[in-house]
Amino acid sequence: MTLLLQVQGVTKRFGGLQALTQVTFDLPAGEIFGLIGPNGAGKTTLFNTINGVYHPEEGRIVFQGKDVTKMKPYYLAKMGMARTHQIVRPLNELTVRENVMVGACFGHENQHLASAAKIADEVLDFVKLSSRADQLAGSLNVAQKKRLEMARALASHPRLLLLDEVLAGLNPSEIDGMIQMILDIRTQGVTIIMIEHLMKAVMNVSDRILVLDYGEQIAEGNPKEIASDPKVIEAYLGDPKLAERLMEDD
């Protein structure tokens, strides 16, 4: 199997804070890769480092066989990497459709406006936001803004999709819908890394999972291995609510 992404010994510091320490993993094309860890573990920072928002102090990121460690986010987007943001970033004064068109126009496929509009309508249909297409993005509620993040990323037809807590703040039926969506995206041949606090969801959909704690990679393996890993359980014991969820989902 070909490796889509290689993260090799990546270290990221913010002043004195060690946000990531020697994180290393390989991601074959076609996988759903779960990324979990307590609050502040460095998960979002790892996404930011992978897609070029931050550049690591040490280590290498290789995407589709190319060293992209020092590249800007827009070049990675054009190479086929798309992401959603944990804290949503809608383009408020643009319509929902225009938001999605930005992804199609400037991302992996570099579409013209007309074809981007078509793609936007398809993707909005897929994430069930069609009825809002002509509304301003700023007028959506949080759950809809999360779906908009997803739609913008999908509209670029990416190879690799980075999902940062897309389930947070959704109600149970919305969660089921979103999970189904993620599985559908994978069948379309998109490789996915998902950060998630909802254990049940990550355990169910991920092929493999990596666990971060204080920037350190404390475990990597399939969901079964992770759920029974003593280091993981210990890490989560510092965060009783999460430990609870981990237990109830077993």
């Binding site: 800007k72 987007a77 943001h85 004064e93 225009e98 930005v102 126009c105 400037f106």
Partner: protein
């Protein structure tokens, strides 16, 4: 979308310009032409500034530098090198575009207030430089030899021609504004305005897009500068780089509605109308700039989207019709 809706966003603005160009002929007064010239010039400048301010979201407090610099370059060629008005206008636009390109590389990485401050610095630095630049006449500037007008059929014919050219440039500015607003490049600019980081993550090459927006917003002001000094017959540093004119342009764009095609046009119209009233009124004539400042404050506080922006927010139909 129905066809008339699709194009009405450009038709209304062009009708406004056409009306302005006919107005002096209809009334037959020389003063009317002067008024119309001032408004058309303001429309061209405000529409250009809008590309950077309204579409890209970068506040330039010193945009008049492109008017002055391009104006100087073109006027120098016209008066000292015997270039024709057409060549001079093109050279003015080109040199302002190049200046914007170089400046853009240097200061467009600054965001928010830092960029705004840098643009003021650029304007003042340019004024100081020209003041000491002997080729452009230093502090006394350059005066056009009256004979130059002969090539255009005498002074009065030349002034009439200048009026039609300013109308043409206003149309050009509006068309450019509309084409950008409705293009893929424009979508990238709007994305940068809304959230530059998110835009970059989606693949918008923000540094390049911003630079080109800056260049495009500088070209027509450079051309207008040449034309304006040609019409006046002379240029001085003081007239070429007036900081208050930059601020007046901001007021026009914000008043009418930044980020829309029609907004800066209405803003230019309304502002010039108001200004015309103020400078002739006994009570206001000395505090006319204070009134502009107060107006800017009121807009920023109460209708930050400007008149057209405010209307567009009211209904989906208006959003489609008013580009």
């Amino acid at each position: 979308m129905r066809n008339w809706q699709k194009y009405i966003g450009i038709i209304i603005p062009l009708l406004v310009v056409a009306g302005l160009m006919l107005y002096p002929t209809v009334t037959g007064k020389a003063a009317a032409r002067e008024t119309a010239f001032t408004i058309l010039k303001a429309i061209a400048l405000a529409s250009s500034l809008n590309i950077l301010l309204g579409y890209t979201g970068y506040v330039s407090f010193g945009h008049i530098v492109f008017f002055g610099f391009g104006g100087y370059v073109g006027f120098y060629l016209l008066s000292s090198q015997g270039a024709s008005l057409w060549i001079a206008i093109l050279a003015g636009g080109l040199s302002s575009g190049i200046l914007a390109f170089l400046l853009g590389k240097a200061i467009l990485r600054l965001r928010g207030a830092y960029f705004a401050l840098a643009t003021i610095g650029v304007n003042e630095a340019m004024k100081a430089f020209i003041n000491n630049f002997d080729l452009f006449g230093g502090p006394t500037g350059i005066t056009l030899n009256f004979k130059t007008y002969l090539a255009y059929g005498g002074a009065s014919k030349a002034l009439e021609m200048a009026f039609f050219i300013v109308g043409g440039l206003a149309c050009l500015a509006i068309i450019m504004s509309y084409v950008i607003r409705t293009s893929k490049f424009g979508l990238g600019l709007l994305a940068i305005r809304e959230n530059e980081d998110a835009a970059e993550v989606m693949g918008v090459i923000a540094p390049d897009a911003k630079t080109w927006a800056y260049v495009l917003s500088a070209i027509i002001p450079g051309m207008i500068g040449v034309l304006f000094f040609f019409k006046n017959g002379n240029v001085e540093p003081h007239d070429a780089f007036p900081l208050h004119a930059s601020i007046e342009l901001l007021v026009m764009v914000m008043l009418g509605g930044q980020g829309t095609v029609l907004g800066p046009i209405l803003g230019a119209f309304a502002y010039q109308g108001m200004r015309g009233y103020l400078v002739t009124s006994d009570f206001f004539k000395d505090i006319q700039l204070s009134v502009s400042g107060a107006l800017l404050l009121i807009i920023v506080l109460f209708i930050p989207a400007g008149a057209v922006g405010w209307l567009r927010k009211r209904s989906e139909l208006l959003r489609r019709v008013l580009a």
